[in-house]
Each structure stands twice: as structure tokens, then as C-alpha cells.
Symmetry: C2
Subunit: 203 residues, 2 copies
């Protein structure tokens, strides 16, 4: 199993380099657990979903505490057949999810969101979950959407994606649960995610 | 068939509202052909891939001519089983692609990129193509990657995505061909795309 993300941070301020640099310090506690490589377009993070999603959450929560309008784009992937197996990506939730009925996975996901830490910063997210290499991919998608509607972070459905809103702790736990508990445990699942904070245009 | 995109523009300047507003004027010639709806996180565009990808290209090319570092995120989708059929999304390339062997589709895609207009602005892109609801999804992905390597806009492969670089005309034609000529004609195919211009960190 290979699990990771390409992450890009976009502060809408002329001072964007400084905001990105101070946001990146939030990754320091995770550098032992994750492989982190930055190029001119994104930062690759590879590792288990515990530290991986925590690191992405802390990166954006830290950035969102800056008053500037900032957004972040993340391409999350697990189980891509084109990537090598990596022992550092081992994930117990995936092993448990295998053979667990959909209704029970939905409950486990709800419980995990209820226990998420309060990060003290409100964020908006929209994302798409893709379950690949499976004939009946929409069953798992619809099951995931049912969980999202009960998660406490659901804002509304949009064409091609779902909007979440709430504290960064609950929102990123919702994303981690969607990523891990839906779609086959050994399958290829991806998320296309955009986060936003301090937007001048609220709805 | 339902075809469309969620598009977000991110200028890294304190003057971002003005840059976004002037970029959006590039969409005016396409408003008769596309359904365009903007909320606080993204702009939905629905319609046939001809005007759809041209509109997204012109939006980003116009923005990239501004000296500010700007990025754009696009979630492209065709054939999502959860969306209604929309006659405005009718696409002849998809009908032709049906029953055409992979090698021939690769050649047709190369020819289309060679004929792309020169927009006079260099951009960087990274993107992931997802073919959903099919057991053998990686065959079409690998076929598409072969085309990308011969497109003239290929920069390099990255984990989870592919980097393109070149004139906005050739780059967005490469993306349109990847979106339309690979994966089943009636299937569910999506692209997770990030574009970047005027970055201070070049590689």
C-alpha cells in the first residue's frame, strides 16, 4: 500500500512567501513519520493516514490563523497500482474496514468525527471522493455521502463535489474517515480537495 | 451525458479580487454556450468540452498575463452517474472515440495538440486523470500517459500526477485530449488539475 498527498498552499496576499514559510513550520512534528518533498508546484507527503492527515490539517489550520484569505489544494491517494508498496503507509483502519458492513463503517466514521480535537479555527472545504478500479463504485460513494450528511460538518452537495464547513479538527477528521472507510480496503481511492479560510465572499 | 467543471482562481496578491474580476471577463464570449454559476469557493461551468476547455484556458491565460503569481484549480467531470443528462454537453469526439483502438486515439490526440492555437503565455500544470467504474482502469491511464509523453507539453511524472509545461494553448489542448480520448466514451472520467503561472520558485 502506498498512501500520500500532493499539497499546495495559496495565500491571497502579496506576502504569500512568508505565509507559506510560516505554515510549513507546522509540518516539523511530522517529519520523522512522513516523507516530505517540496517542488515549485506542491509538497509531496507520503506516510500513514494518521500523521498524514494530521500534518495537512495543522498546515492549513496554522495558515488559516493568519488573517489573509488562504486556500489549499490536496490530491490524496491510497492504493494506486502504479506506486510501490511502502511499509510506512500501513494503516489499521483500512484492515478493520475490510469485511465491515457499510452501516457499521458509517457509524465508526461518525464516532471518529465526534472525537476530533477542536483546532479553534473555522474552515470551508469542498472535495470529491473517487473509488477506482471497481464496477460498482457509486455504491460506496453514496454510502460515504450518507455519512457526510450525518457528520456535523456537511454544508451542501454541489455538482461534482461536496461542501463541508466547521472547525478544522472535525472537517479534516471527516475527510480522513471518507478516505479510509469507503471504497475497498485494498483498492485505489483518491480525494480531490480544496480548503478555504478567511474568504471575503461568504455564503 | 453531463460534462462540466468546478474552477477556482487563486492570485497570490493582496489585489486578488481585482485580478479575479478581470480574469472572469475572459468568460464573456462563452456565456451563451456554457452554464456558469459562481459561489464563494468556485465557479461551476457546464457544457460541451469545446467551449468548456476553451473558456477555462482563456480564463487562466488572461490571468497569467498579469505579473502576479497565480494558480487555478479545476475539477473536471464527464459522465458522472449521479448527474442528469444535459443535451448542451453533447460531444462528437466522445462518439468517435468509442470503438477506436487506443493507438489511433493516441495519434488523434497528438494531432489535436499540434494544431492548438498559440496563446503567447507559458504555464505549468499538474493533473491526475481518473477513469471510474471500470475494472481495468489502469490500461487507459497508461495509454494516456504514453500520449502525454509524446504531446510536446510533458515535463515529468510525479507521484499521483503528471507535470505539463508549455504555451497555454498546447497545454489545455493536451488536457482536453486526455479528458476525451481515454477512458470509455460513455464512462465516468474526471481530472484533478492545478495550473500555475509566474511562480517565483522555478524548477
Amino acid at each position: 500500500m502506498f498512501i500520500g498527498a500532493q499539497v499546495s498552499l495559496y495565500p491571497m496576499t502579496s506576502d504569500f512567501v512568508q505565509v507559506i514559510m510560516s505554515g510549513l513550520k507546522a509540518l516539523d512534528p511530522y517529519r520523522d513519520d512522513l516523507r516530505i518533498e517540496t517542488d515549485d508546484m506542491s509538497t509531496l507527503m507520503v506516510g500513514a493516514p494518521g500523521p498524514l492527515i494530521d500534518a495537512i490539517r495543522d498546515l492549513f489550520a496554522t495558515t488559516a490563523r493568519n488573517p489573509a484569505h488562504s486556500t489549499m489544494h490536496v490530491t490524496l491517494s491510497r492504493g494506486c497500482p502504479g506506486e510501490p508498496d511502502d511499509p510506512s503507509c500501513r494503516c489499521d483502519i483500512l484492515a478493520i474496514a475490510q469485511n465491515t458492513p457499510l452501516a457499521q463503517r458509517q457509524l465508526q466514521a461518525q464516532e471518529a468525527v465526534a472525537e476530533a480535537p477542536d483546532m479553534g479555527v473555522q474552515i470551508d472545504v469542498q472535495f470529491s471522493l473517487y473509488v477506482l478500479g471497481q464496477d460498482r463504485h457509486m455504491d460506496e460513494i453514496y454510502g460515504c455521502i450518507e455519512f457526510l450528511k450525518s457528520s456535523g460538518t456537511f454544508l451542501r452537495s454541489k455538482n461534482f463535489c461536496t461542501r463541508l464547513r466547521g472547525d478544522a479538527g472535525a472537517v479534516f477528521e471527516t475527510l480522513r474517515q471518507a478516505f479510509l472507510r469507503f471504497g475497498p480496503a485494498e483498492g485505489h481511492v483518491t480525494i480531490d480537495l480544496t480548503a478555504s479560510a478567511n474568504s471575503p465572499s461568504k455564503d
